[in-house]
């Protein structure tokens, strides 16, 4: 049953990818990319990578779609068909790269293999000691918030600073002009 879900979701993904490439209406392409992200998020969930799935759903289906739509509202939403000559060399390069990547997956440990190196590097220590060291019942939360606490704190600081900077750059000018217009209209309001 679970294999069947995988097959269906991957088929949907492939269909959407091909349709997005063929589509000339960019708004529809953005919408389809949103569906693509939702599908990837379901696939990640089905493969037990819940946190990755959540990031994919919020960034891929949420923020990226909005950013793309914002870009489309500044430009036109029809793709230019100026450079549509067929390029056989590009096809060869893409097929070769894909074949190399598929060949590389043969060396990877099987999905969920308990003997894989990734499951024995520091995982054993975390599994054995998390409860004694931190007292947090969820292991992933314990690693993110306690073992890598400074790292997570730094990340959060960086994202917060970037967010404030973007808001000041994008929203600051607009607020400034709004204040000035109100002052011109005889509605003085203290400027900070």
């Amino acid at each position: 049953m679970i294999d069947l879900i995988h097959i269906f979701l991957f088929t949907f993904l492939a269909i959407i990818a091909i349709v997005v490439i063929r589509m000339r209406d960019l708004f529809a392409a953005v919408m389809l990319m949103g569906i693509f992200s939702l599908l990837s998020a379901s696939l990640f969930t089905v493969m037990d990578a819940v946190d990755v799935a959540f990031t994919e759903a919020s960034v891929g289906a949420g923020i990226s779609t909005i950013l793309m739509l914002a870009t489309l509202s500044l430009t036109t939403s029809k793709e230019s068909t100026l450079y549509q000559r067929p390029r056989p060399l590009a096809l060869v390069v893409v097929v070769l790269t894909g074949a190399a990547l598929v060949y590389a997956t043969f060396d990877m440990p099987r999905y969920g293999d308990a003997a894989a190196p990734i499951n024995h590097h520091v995982a054993d220590y975390y599994i054995a000691r998390t409860m004694d060291d931190t007292g947090v019942p969820n292991m992933v939360t314990a690693i993110l918030a306690s073992y890598r606490g400074y790292d997570t704190f730094g990340e959060t600081t960086v994202i917060f600073t970037a967010c404030v900077g973007v808001m000041l750059l994008l929203g600051g000018a607009r607020t400034f002009y709004r204040w000035r217009r109100r002052e011109d209209a005889g509605d003085p309001e203290p400027r900070p």
Binding site: I5, M31, L32, A41, S42, A57, S58, I66
Partner: protein
């Protein structure tokens, strides 16, 4: 009981396929927006049903958060199609610049 969940999953996958067809064919913008919205709903349902199917009902929390995010995302997309802006129109707000 497991058979019921399996049947629900199969029905959801069929629904996803139909929504996908509408989002690919959909002649107008609103067909596609609606298709994305209902595809998000299908994702929420699939995650919820899959949680029960694999014996981990905790996935239900995740599905709830997805539902909230889907709602906010659709609102944002609709605002963009209507106003070309996330803020929308304020009262007596003709042109800012």
């Amino acid at each position: 009981m497991m058979g019921a969940f399996a049947a629900a999953t199969a029905a959801l996958l069929v629904c996803m396929a139909m929504t996908l067809v509408r989002s690919i064919l959909g002649p107008t913008v609103f067909d596609r927006v609606l298709a994305v919205n209902s595809f998000g709903t299908k994702t929420v349902l699939l995650i919820a049903v899959y949680g029960f199917l694999s014996g981990r009902p905790e996935f239900l929390d995740l599905a709830l958060v997805y539902a909230l995010m889907n709602f906010i995302g659709t609102i944002a997309v609709m605002k963009f199609t209507r106003f070309n802006d996330l803020a929308g129109m304020e009262e007596n707000d003709e042109e800012v610049y």
